[in-house]
Amino acid sequence: MSAAAAPPREIEGTGYEAVIGLEVHAQLLTRSKMFCSCSTAYFDSPPNSNTCPVCLGLPGTLPVMNREAVEKTVLTALALGCEIPPFTKFDRKNYFYPDLPKGYQISQYDLPLSRNGRLVFEVDGREVRCGITRVHLEEDTGTLKHAGDLIHEATSSLVDLNRAGVPLMEIVGEPDLRTAEEAREYVTRLRQVLMYIGVNDGSMERGSLRCDANVSLRRVGSTEYGTKVEIKNMNSFRAVHRALEYEIARQLQVLQDGGTLVQETRGWIETENRTVSQRSKEQAHDYRYFPEPDLPPLELDGQYVERIRARLPELPDARQRRFQSQYGLSAYDAALLTASREEADAFEAIAGSGVSAKLAANWMIGDVARLANAHHLPVARSGLGVTGLSALLRLLESGAVNGTTAKELLDELYAAGGDPEALVRDRGLGQVSDEAALAAIVDEVIAANPQVVADFQGGKEQALGRLVGNVMKASGGRADARLVNKLLRERLAG
């Protein structure tokens, strides 16, 4: 989809529209590197401990392709609706930098693994279709530490090649995005898809998912592009949003002041809330691309592609819609529940174990989400686990425990684990639903709180809550709250 096809969106009152294209680099969740057998678990490894002659770029070494990396890239391309051409190859991208051991990066230039896909998502209830130009495969570089943290002040830099050679997917989006918000949503959705299909861990903080943007402005209605500025160093969704907002405003200001924009690369400085010029893009590198002679090309036939396609799980979009129709959930709730595949799987496991979908959804979205955040543990990997949670919710739904008890148990068992049924039994936490027993407590409470009773009978609805609270307390928190409510109203009605 070309930029001309996306509908124009004026920056209100200015006569200009922003044109944004995003380039996302995603490390692949393979076990070994792209062209050698070093592990990809390099994060937190001691510097240069995760290397071998090949990824160190030592003389005489040669690359050998990682089969799984190719398959994961094809899987990604298929999830994004791309075409897989029958012939693809690697190329050398030649430039000098200390984090690039061979003095060239093995990447793909003119015949990438895939092209022509799209990512569809919603922003403010409005559908946005962003084209995907291409998805290709390459190798990651090493990392640099600058003595003093700022590259232009350092007298020396330190090179760690642990990351060099990790398989990296480059996903180039068409310049179809028009607002900072659309850009943010694009990255969010793309990340979600990549995590769903298990090719990337979604961590922008650790750098396994990186995003650069190209931004330009042009007069609404024009089909020409304005001066393009590249924005780098956006390390979170928030950063993407804020950096682009800033940059669009900056460019607008320049144009409205009658100035000219410089084609350049600018870095987002999070701590200062602005973008800063890094180097003029005019001195563009001449990468002298040529086909990689050390690697035979790839011919991926229809059978191969279909075999990979069969590995695609239900994608987030489709899953969300199914949750709405199959479980009767609202779009909002369905979106929350399908945000991550793990969570969606957990929900379906619980709903499948006999718990009603509505109850499961409420709890998953409410208390379970709260605890998952607090403990940094999704329920499937929590101490309680999906099975434990299912058991707990079944206890609640059957009336064996009341809501309060269920919540307390959830809090207690989430991280530590435990058997809810056994605990309810052993501690006598079972819900008190015996009307006669409750009636006695209710009568006691009524007798002990004449003023509150009077308030309620005088029209203050909230007063009932206090009475319910007192009954709950008196029953050790185990009373069936609805029954208590009913009994109180009956007694106080007359």
């Binding site: 290397t51 392709m65 007298t155 020396s156 830099s157 090309p297």
Partner: protein
């Protein structure tokens, strides 16, 4: 074909080769002559022909995704001309 001094300077920079003025001029004349001789290529009709990027005719050569032990930092750094603990050290990258 005449290669200018600027052409040579540009290429030398792309290749990160520091050359003296005398070398620049020497290479300029030599490269000029070589490129002239290479012009012979244009005499061959290649209109109906594809490039040979790979002599072998091989396709789809890959390995299974099995990690193996690395050689360790000490061996990785053993040939380093400049190091700082477990890092390779380079001079200031002035951007």
């Amino acid at each position: 074909m005449t290669l200018s001094r600027d052409d040579v300077a540009h290429v030398a920079m792309l290749a990160r080769l520091g050359l003296s003025d005398a070398e620049m001029e020497q290479y300029r004349t030599q490269l000029d002559a070589i490129l002239d001789a290479i012009g012979k290529l244009n005499e061959v009709d290649t209109s109906a022909v594809a490039e040979t990027a790979q002599v072998g005719g091989l396709v789809n050569v890959w390995r299974e995704d099995e990690p193996r032990e690395s050689i360790g930092a000490e061996r990785a750094l053993a040939n380093a001309p400049e190091r700082d603990g477990p890092y390779f050290r380079v001079a200031a990258i002035q951007e």
